[in-house]
C-alpha cells in the first residue's frame, strides 16, 4: 500500500458549519473586546502591562484575519448543482446545451454561496424558458464565469439566444445602461415586460432587493438574436469591518469605512443651493449634499461640521454630519426584525462602552435620496 505523502492528503478538512459559526461569533466578541482593551491600554502607565495588552491586541488582529480566510469557500461548491440543473432543463426542453463554468476556484464568503446559487439558478431557468426559443440554433450555450478582486465578486452569466435590442430598451427607459439596481421597481417591471425576459417577476424583485442591501449591481447587456450577458457584482463584505464613528443629532452612528471616499471640513467647502437641494463642488464633480439629521428626522443642537463623500456602486453623495469621533473595528449584527423597515439602518454594532450603535446603510441611503 502506498504511504500517504503530504501531496496526496487533501488540503481540506471538513468542519461542521454550526461549529464554524460559533467560532466566528466568539471571534466577533473578541473584536468587541479589542476596542475595550485599546482604551484600557492608554490608561496604563506601567509599560509591562501595556506591552502585554499590545501583544493581546496583535493576536486578536491576527485571529480576525485568519477567521476571514476560514469563512471563504470556493465557488465550485455550487457548480455541480448548477450543471445538474442545466442537464435537467436540457432534457425537459429537448435542447442540446453546452455549459461552461469558469473561475470555479474563486473564493467567496460562506454566507453568500446560497444567494449566488439561487440567483444563477433563476437565470438558468429563465434562459431555457425565454432565451432558447430559436429552433434552428446550432448549439445552445450557457457560460458562467466568476472572478474576485478581493473587494467585489463579479459573476457573469451569458447565453446565446433571443436576446434584446439593448440600445432601443435604453432609449425607451431613458437610461444610459441597464442596471436593475439603479432602476425603480416600476422600471424593472417595465424592462421585464419590454424584453419579456421573465415570468417570475416577484422572485426577481426579491433577489434584486437582497442585492440592493448587499450594495451590488445587476447589469444586462444584449444584442437581438445574438446574446444576452448578465453581470452580477456582489461586494465581499464581512460582518467584521472598519467603521467611522460620527455624531448626528446627539447620537453616535457608525459608517462602514469601505463606502467613504473623502472627509471634508464643512468650512472649506462651498455649498450651493439648486432646485431646493444643496450641492457641493468636489474635484470638479457636483455632488448632492444630504444633511443626515434631516434624513433620519432627528433634531440636532450642534452645527454640522463635517462632510463625508460616500460612494457605492458609482452613486455618490456628500453626507453632512455633526462631528467625527473615531475609527474602529466593528462587528455588524443584523438589525432586530422589529426595525427592519428602517431602510437607513444596516445593522447594529456594540462598541467598547457596551452601548448599541446603529450602522448606516450607505447603499440604501444613496438609492433613496
Amino acid at each position: 500500500m502506498d504511504q500517504l505523502s503530504p501531496d496526496n492528503v487533501s488540503e481540506f478538512s471538513t468542519v461542521n458549519r454550526k461549529n464554524l459559526d460559533e467560532l466566528v461569533s466568539l471571534v466577533e466578541e473578541l473584536v468587541i473586546n479589542k476596542v475595550k482593551i485599546e482604551k484600557m491600554k492608554n490608561e496604563f502607565s506601567n509599560s509591562t502591562q501595556a506591552k502585554i495588552l499590545d501583544q493581546e491586541l496583535r493576536i486578536i488582529s491576527e485571529i480576525q484575519e485568519s477567521i476571514k480566510k476560514v469563512r471563504l469557500i470556493k465557488i465550485k461548491t455550487i457548480s455541480k448543482a448548477l450543471s445538474d440543473l442545466v442537464d435537467q432543463y436540457s432534457k425537459d426542453y429537448c435542447i442540446h446545451t453546452q455549459f461552461l463554468f469558469n473561475g470555479q476556484e474563486t473564493q467567496i464568503e460562506n454566507s453568500l454561496i446560497s444567494y449566488i446559487h439561487n440567483l444563477l439558478a433563476y437565470f438558468i431557468k429563465d434562459i431555457f424558458e425565454k432565451e432558447f426559443v430559436i429552433s434552428d440554433q446550432a448549439l445552445s450555450q450557457i457560460s458562467i464565469s466568476a472572478q474576485s478582486d478581493g473587494k467585489d465578486l463579479t459573476t457573469i452569466i451569458e447565453s446565446n439566444g433571443k436576446g434584446f435590442d439593448a440600445e432601443k430598451i435604453c432609449n425607451v427607459l431613458n437610461k444610459k445602461d441597464i442596471d436593475l439596481l439603479s432602476f425603480s421597481e416600476d422600471e424593472v417591471r417595465k424592462f421585464i415586460s419590454l424584453t419579456s425576459s421573465s415570468d417570475n417577476i416577484d422572485y426577481l424583485l426579491k433577489l434584486r432587493q437582497d442585492l440592493l442591501h448587499l450594495g451590488g449591481s445587476l447589469k444586462f447587456e444584449s444584442e437581438l438574436n445574438t446574446f444576452r450577458r448578465i453581470t452580477i457584482v456582489i461586494p465581499m463584505s464581512s460582518s467584521i469591518m472598519q467603521g467611522l464613528l460620527v455624531t448626528i443629532g446627539n447620537q453616535v452612528y457608525a459608517i462602514p469605512l469601505e463606502f467613504i471616499e473623502t472627509i471634508l471640513d464643512k468650512k472649506s467647502v462651498k455649498i450651493k443651493k439648486s432646485h431646493r437641494s444643496q450641492m457641493i463642488l468636489h474635484m470638479e464633480h457636483v455632488i448632492r449634499l444630504i444633511n443626515v439629521s434631516d434624513l433620519l428626522q432627528v433634531e440636532t443642537s450642534e452645527e454640522p461640521s463635517c462632510i463625508l463623500i460616500v460612494n457605492s456602486n458609482n452613486s455618490r453623495a456628500a453626507l453632512l454630519v455633526d462631528s467625527l469621533l473615531d475609527q474602529t473595528d466593528m462587528v455588524i449584527k443584523n438589525k432586530p426584525p422589529i426595525i427592519k423597515d428602517v431602510n437607513e439602518i444596516k445593522g447594529t454594532t456594540i462598541l467598547g462602552d457596551g452601548l448599541v450603535t446603529l450602522v448606516l446603510d450607505i447603499p440604501s441611503i444613496l438609492k433613496e435620496i
Binding site: 466578541e29 433620519l296 428626522q297 432586530p336 422589529i338 426595525i339 428602517v342 439602518i345 452601548l355 446603529l358
Partner: protein
C-alpha cells in the same frame, strides 16, 4: 399559574411568568430614528441586541415619564424584547378561575387578586408587536 406584577406609574399590571426571561435595571438605550412609536430603542443584553418597548403604548395607556426604571426581558418566537416598566411588584400564584377574559377591542384578560382587578398582558398582545 404564576404571574409577575409590575407598575406603569401608579397602575398595576400582570404578566405570565413563563413569558419572562430576566429582569434588568434600567440601562442606556439607543433610540432608533424613523422606527415605530412604541419602540423606545435598543439595548445590548448578554451579547444580543434587544428592542425596548414602551409598554404603555402597547397597553393603550397614556405614556408616563418614569417608565424606564426596570426592564422585563420577554422571550418571543421572533426574538427577545424588553418591556419598559416603572417598577416590579411581586410574583404571585393565582388560580386559573380568577382569570377572566374581557372582550373589548382586543383580547384583554384581567386577573382578580385580592379583589383588585389587574389587567393581564397576554402572549396574544405581545405577539402583535
Amino acid at each position: 399559574m404564576q404571574v409577575l406584577t409590575f407598575f406603569l406609574g401608579p397602575e398595576r399590571f400582570a404578566i405570565d411568568i413563563k413569558l419572562v426571561d430576566t429582569l434588568e435595571n434600567k440601562m442606556p438605550i439607543t433610540p432608533v430614528p424613523k422606527s415605530k412609536t412604541y419602540i423606545t430603542g435598543l439595548i445590548s443584553h448578554r451579547g444580543d441586541v434587544i428592542p425596548v418597548i414602551n409598554t404603555c403604548l402597547i397597553l393603550s395607556e397614556d405614556s408616563i415619564d418614569n417608565l424606564l426604571e426596570k426592564l422585563i426581558i420577554i422571550n418571543l418566537e421572533s426574538g427577545k424584547i424588553a418591556l419598559a416598566v416603572s417598577g416590579i411588584d411581586d410574583v404571585l400564584d393565582i388560580e386559573e378561575e380568577n382569570i377572566e377574559t374581557v372582550n373589548l377591542n382586543e383580547d384583554m384578560s384581567v386577573v382578580n387578586i385580592d379583589t383588585h382587578i389587574i389587567p393581564l398582558l397576554t402572549y396574544k398582545q405581545l405577539k402583535k408587536i
